[in-house]
């Protein structure tokens, strides 16, 4: 069955979500991945927005986390204070998985979504943290969407917006951050994990038709590829549910 790279990425992310997870998601593909998980493999997972809505029905795909579509038929409509407190609270945080995106990532999963170039003389300005820094600081694990490009997988970030493991295995602890940190990076070529000991990124899987070297070519830093396996293509069932239930109007896909 034919599928696009965006569909592949969405489904690979969805597969990482389990029943009993509370899924924090932002706008775009991250929201779609959360919806896909709920419709495909983790029907008991709970979707949760930084704007304060939890367990929204999502009859229609929201185009922003502030979209009125997140407010309909939720379990509770609060505000930003409620949602971020739920992430910072250790009792609830341990159930929360965050889905993020960024302009740059480094080997420890630190993210930049603020500027390219010098902060004070930026070549390109992006939206900034939004809730990303909060999510990355608080939640027990996060999934990061990235485009597989050399300028995006950087040895040195131009600006560290959202903390991964900072400078190594005890980076978060030294800085005073709660436990947790990046769990997966999902690109248009493969999927990365983080080594339990070194907390460095490693290649976990490559998509059908992609070889690990191709992925390495599209990164500034090198990662271990010895544990990589081919990622199964989306099944027809996965694709059907994604296309028909989650984004029938092709707003994101």
């Amino acid at each position: 069955m034919d599928y696009t790279l965006k569909e592949m990425m969405t489904i690979v992310a969805a597969r990482e979500i389990r029943n009993n997870d509370i899924v924090f998601c932002g706008t775009g593909i991250s929201m779609l991945a959360a919806m896909a998980a709920k419709n495909i493999n983790a029907p008991q997972s709970v979707i949760f927005f930084e704007t304060g809505a939890i367990d929204s029905k999502l009859e229609d795909l929201p185009l922003a986390v502030g979209d009125s579509r997140v407010m309909y038929y939720s379990s509770s409509n609060g505000g930003l204070l409620d949602s971020f407190a739920t992430m910072q609270n250790r009792v609830t945080a341990k159930h929360i998985v965050g889905i993020l995106g960024a302009a740059q990532i480094d080997i420890y999963g630190n993210l930049n979504s603020t500027v390219i170039g010098d902060y004070h003389e930026p070549d390109v300005r992006f939206s900034g943290s939004g809730g990303a820094c909060d999510v990355a600081s608080f939640v027990s694990r996060s999934i990061i969407f990235m485009k597989q490009e050399k300028r995006k997988f950087k040895i040195q970030l131009d600006y560290l917006t959202s903390p991964g493991y900072l400078d190594g295995p005890d980076g978060r602890e030294k800085a005073g951050l709660p436990e947790g940190g990046p769990h997966r990076v999902i690109t248009d070529m493969g999927i990365m994990g983080f080594d339990e000991l070194s907390k460095q990124m490693f290649l976990k899987g490559y998509y059908p038709g992609i070889i690990p070297d191709k992925i390495l070519e599209n990164m500034e830093f090198e990662i271990d590829t010895s544990r990589a396996e081919e990622v199964p293509a989306p099944t027809s069932n996965e694709l059907e549910l994604l296309r028909e239930k989650c984004d029938p109007h092709r707003l994101i896909l």
Binding site: T27, G28, E50, T51, G52, D60, P62, L63, A64, V65, G66, D67, S68, V70, M71, Y72, N77, G78, G79, L80, L81, F84, Q88, R90, N110, T114, Y119, H120, E121, P122, D123, V124, R125, F126, S127, G128, S129, G130, G131, A132, C133, D134, S137, F138, Y159, L160, T161, S162, P163, L166, G171, R172, K174, A175, G176, L177, P178, H249, R250, L251
Partner: protein, 325 residues
């Protein structure tokens, strides 16, 4: 301020009375929802300049104020409008061209800053952003901070937990309170005294409202005091915080207002298109904002059909079959 009087006033008067060149302003809403757009357009019409603006993820309102040249300083967490502009276009341009000073925080930090202002305390603690450039890099130079009594001397301060390792926490980041001169929010219902009822998510509107010295409320419906007192659990902002109440149907247009109307994807897409080009954008300001005397005139130019297109389904709270591609 009369705590208890009739606060209903015309938008032009409210803006000219309370929004001055150089004032510190905060606006409510989130990305493409419940931005106080009628007030934003009126600020642009009155040519107010040099605003020090605070928002978390306001989106459309911030971008238009920045684009119109009304803003000199911006403290913000996120300059984006969802699918319509993942980075707000005039905001990006203004920063890249160094037309505005920017200070970056996270969404939670900005919200806590408003909360601290509302609570009457100088700061609040969080564990967010430890180890990041949000702590290390300051947008406003230290000298600017020291010379300007309206901004705190520090962007953020790290503090070792004074209670040892209580709550398994070694360190926190303290975020300084914000007390804007004025906050403007748009709500579904208000009464003449300024009691407010917001339907759906409140975002950080309640904290922004209570942090300000002056609170300007625009509302879809101006209802009787009794209509709100009937269900006090649903009134998030009591009148004691309010200075001005303005009745403006479609006051959040082109952003959404839950249960009343959706965002207008046609407007927002056209806006994003025009925003990419300076000349087009100045024409937009001239022909869409400055040309009209009031928000109602602007809405008339949009036409009844478009407004019907975005009118909210009673049950869902948004426009069911709206074409959003």
């Amino acid at each position: 301020m009369e705590i208890n009087g009739n606060k209903v006033i015309d938008l032009k008067d409210a803006i000219s009375t309370h929004i001055k060149n150089g004032c510190h302003l905060s606006i409510g809403g989130f990305t493409i929802n419940r931005n106080p757009m009628a007030a934003v357009y009126e600020i642009i019409r009155q040519g107010i300049k040099d605003i020090h603006l605070y928002a978390h993820s306001n989106g459309q309102g911030v971008d238009e104020l920045v684009g119109a040249g009304s803003v000199s300083c911006l403290e913000i967490a996120y300059g984006g409008s969802g699918k319509f502009a993942s980075t707000c276009i005039r905001f990006r341009k203004a920063v890249q061209e160094k037309k505005i000073k920017v200070e970056d925080y996270s969404n939670y930090q900005m919200t806590l800053r408003f909360l601290a202002g509302a609570m009457g305390i100088p700061f609040l603690p969080t564990r967010s952003s430890l180890g990041t450039d949000i702590v290390k890099i300051w947008g406003f130079p230290a000298e600017f901070r020291q010379e300007n009594s309206r901004v705190p001397d520090s962007k953020l301060i790290e503090l070792d937990n004074p209670f040892g390792t209580w709550c398994d926490t070694k360190k926190v980041v303290l975020v300084p309170a914000i007390n804007p001169d004025v906050t403007i929010i748009h709500v579904q219902k208000a009464d003449f005294r300024g009691n407010c009822r917001i339907d759906g998510l409140t975002f950080a509107d309640v904290e922004q409202a209570k942090a300000a010295k002056i609170l300007i409320i625009t509302c879809e419906e101006l209802v009787a005091n009794d209509d709100l007192k009937n269900e006090p659990d649903r009134n998030q902002i009591p009148f004691i915080h309010a200075s001005a109440v303005i009745h403006i149907p479609y006051g959040a247009y082109p952003t959404a207002c839950y249960r009343y109307y959706d965002y207008d994807p046609v407007y927002l897409k056209e806006y994003a298109e025009k925003a990419k080009n300076d000349k087009q954008y100045y024409l937009y300001i001239k022909d869409t904002i400055l040309k009209y005397l009031t928000h109602k005139d602007l809405l008339d130019s949009i036409g009844r059909e478009r407004l019907e297109m975005i009118s909210a389904d009673k049950n869902l709270g948004y426009a069911k079959n709206l074409d959003r591609r």
